[in-house]
Symmetry: C2
C-alpha cells in the first residue's frame, strides 16, 4: 500500500477542498466532483488508507477527514501551484510600488500592511541587515553634559541611534572632529570589522578616553543585532480569525507570542536564505503555533539577500496565493531598496 496516482489525486482534492471550506471533507463531496469517476465507498477506502499512512486525520468518528501537517508538506512540495490574484489585489500591490521615497521605517511598515491586507493574515517584515553592512556615516551629537547621541548610517540605509556616556571634558567640537575622522577613515568598512578596528586603531589617538571608545564600540556592535530585531508587523488582529472558535485563550497566547519580537526574529531567521520557506504546524517547533504555518521569502539589495518577509496564518492557508504575493512583494521591496541604496 503506497501512494499511487489515485491516492495522490484524492489527497490533493481533499487539501484543496479543506483549504477552501475549512470543514472536514467527507467521501461524498469528493465523489460528486465529476473528475472522479468513483463511488463514495471507493473513496472511503482510499481515505482510510491515507489515514493509515498519516496524511489524514479524523476529528471524530463521524466527521470527514482533515489533512495532517504531513499532507500539507507533500502538497507544498509537489502539488501546489501558484494562483493568480484578483485585479484588486494586483492594484494594491502596484499602488504600493508607485509610492514616493520615504524613510526606511515607513517603507517596511507599508510592505507589511500590503502583505497583510492582501492575504488577510499576519505579516512580518525584517529590516534589511547583513553582516557585510558597510559604514556610511557616523555622527556624535552632544546632548546634556556627559551624554551624546550616536547616529550610525550604513549602506543598508539604516540610521541607528543610541545614547552613550562621554567624558565631560569632551566638547562639541571634539565630538564633531571624532565623528568626521571615523566617518572618513572607516567609510565603507564592514560593520562586523569596525568594532575591532576602532578599538585597535583609535586607541592611541584617544589614549585617555579608553572607556568612551569602548562604549562607542560596544554600542555599534549591539546596534548590529538590535536593529535587526526591529520587525514591521501588520494584521495581528487576523490571528483571531482562525484559532478554533471560542478558544480565546489560544488567541491570547498567540498574540502574546507575536508581541515578543525576538520570537519572531528567531522564526524568520530560521528560514535561512532561500527563495521561499514553508514551515507547517509542528515544523515550527513551538506548540503555540501548532496549527499555524509560516511562509517566508527573502528580499535582496542587488543580489545580496538582506532581509526576510513572511506571513503567519492557519495551516490551511492558500499557499499558492501566499507565495504569489510574497514573490511579488519581495521583488518590489528589493527593487525599491536597490534603487535608493546601491552604488553603481
Amino acid at each position: 500500500m503506497d501512494l499511487n496516482h489515485r491516492k495522490l489525486r484524492i489527497l490533493r482534492a481533499i487539501v484543496d477542498e479543506y483549504i477552501l471550506s475549512g470543514a472536514p471533507v467527507g467521501s461524498k463531496v469528493l465523489s460528486q466532483n465529476p473528475s472522479f469517476r468513483l463511488s463514495s465507498a471507493t473513496i472511503r477506502n482510499e481515505m482510510a488508507d491515507l489515514e493509515d499512512l498519516g496524511y489524514l486525520e479524523q476529528p471524530h468518528t463521524s466527521a470527514g477527514r482533515v489533512p495532517s501537517d504531513k499532507a500539507y508538506r507533500l502538497y507544498v512540495n509537489n502539488m501546489m501551484q501558484r494562483s493568480n490574484l484578483s485585479a484588486d489585489e494586483m492594484e494594491t500591490m502596484s499602488a504600493y510600488c508607485r509610492n514616493r521615497v520615504k524613510g526606511l521605517d515607513a517603507v517596511m511598515r507599508e510592505t507589511a500592511n500590503v502583505l497583510s491586507s492582501i492575504t488577510h493574515y499576519t505579516a512580518l517584515v525584517t529590516m534589511p541587515e547583513n553582516a557585510a553592512n558597510r559604514l556610511r556615516h557616523l555622527q556624535l551629537v552632544p546632548l546634556a553634559d556627559g551624554y551624546a547621541l550616536v547616529v550610525v548610517v550604513t549602506d543598508a540605509g539604516v540610521a541607528r541611534d543610541a545614547v552613550i556616556h562621554v567624558p565631560t571634558d569632551m566638547g562639541p567640537d571634539e565630538l564633531d572632529k571624532i565623528s568626521r575622522t571615523i566617518s572618513q577613515r572607516y567609510y565603507n568598512c564592514r560593520m562586523s570589522e569596525l568594532t575591532g578596528r576602532l578599538l585597535r586603531e583609535m586607541g592611541s589617538e584617544l589614549l585617555d578616553k579608553g572607556a568612551f571608545l569602548q562604549e562607542l564600540a560596544d554600542t555599534m556592535e549591539a546596534g548590529q543585532g538590535a536593529n535587526a530585531q526591529r520587525i514591521a508587523l501588520s494584521g495581528a488582529n487576523n490571528l483571531l480569525d482562525y484559532p478554533a472558535y471560542g478558544d480565546i485563550d489560544r488567541a491570547r497566547q498567540l498574540l502574546a507570542e507575536i508581541e515578543k519580537k525576538d520570537t519572531l526574529y528567531r522564526l524568520l531567521k530560521n528560514a535561512g536564505v532561500v527563495e521561499f520557506s514553508f514551515r507547517i504546524g509542528s515544523e515550527l517547533g513551538t506548540d503555540i503555533f501548532k496549527d499555524c504555518s509560516l511562509v517566508t521569502a527573502t528580499y535582496r539589495i542587488g543580489t545580496t539577500p538582506v532581509g526576510t518577509m513572511g506571513v503567519i496564518g492557519p495551516t490551511r492557508m492558500p499557499y499558492g496565493k501566499v507565495v504569489t504575493v510574497l514573490d511579488y512583494m519581495s521583488k518590489s521591496l528589493g527593487g525599491i531598496l536597490t534603487n535608493v541604496l546601491e552604488e553603481e
Copy 2:
C-alpha cells in the same frame, strides 16, 4: 431625591466591589458588609434610586447592578484613592529605572512593557515631541546616485530619518558642507520655525537647487508630525481578557483599531496636557471603545511636557492602582530623559 451621603457610600461600595469581582453586585453582598448597618431591602431601595439617577444599570431584571459610565466618572472625580503597589510591582519599576542608557526607542518600548506588565492592560507611550523642539544636528548622507538620507537630531533626543532626492551634480562633499552649515546656523532653532527659515534664508545660497531645498524642508516638516506618530505599544493581548467572553468579533475590532497608530495618536492627543486624564467608556467618543477606559499621564523634560503615556483597559479597571503606576512611570521617564537631554 438626590445624592445624600448614604447613597454616595453605597455607590462607592458598588463600584469598588464591581471593579474587584466583575460580576453585577446585588443588595445582599452589600448588606453583609459590616460597615453598612442596613438590611438588603433598604439597600435595594437606595439602589433603585441610584438607577433612576443614572448611576447604575441592570443587565437584566434578576441580576445585580453594574455602575454606569456616569458612576465611574463620579468615582474617579471624587471617591477614588490611589492604591499602594505590591513589593513585586515596586521592584519591577525600580529595576526599570536602574537601566543603563540606551536608544530612545528602546526606552519607550521598555516603558510600555513595564506599564502593561504591572497593570495587565494595554499600554501606550508616545515619543517625546514638542512644537518647541530645537535642532541639534542635521546630516545628509549620500546614498545611491540621486538619493540621500536626512538624519535630524532634536533636543528631544529623536533621530528622525528619511530619504530624499538630491540633484545628481551634488557630491558628498557638498552635502556635507550643507549639513554643517545648517547644523551650525540653525543650532537650537525651533523646528516649527526651521522650515520657513530654511526656505527663506538658504534660497540665495542654493539658487539652482530650489527643488532640493523644498524637499528637504518638506521632509523636516513632515518629520515633525510623523515622528510623533510613533507610539510604543505593549500588552495588546490583554485586550482579549475583557471583551465579554466569547465575543471574539469585538476583540478583533479592538485589535484592528489599536493597530492603527493614528487612532491611538488622536486618543492620546485628545487628553491634552494635564497631569492625568481619564476617559471612560462613552467619553472616548468611539463606539468601538464603548466599554473601555483610557487613563493617561503627561511626562516632561525638565518642566516642559513632551509626551503622553496611557493605559487602555475595561471601564472597570482599578483606577487607583493605574494612576499610581502612571504617576511613578511618567516621573521616571521624565527623569531619565531630562538627565540625558536637558542642557544646564
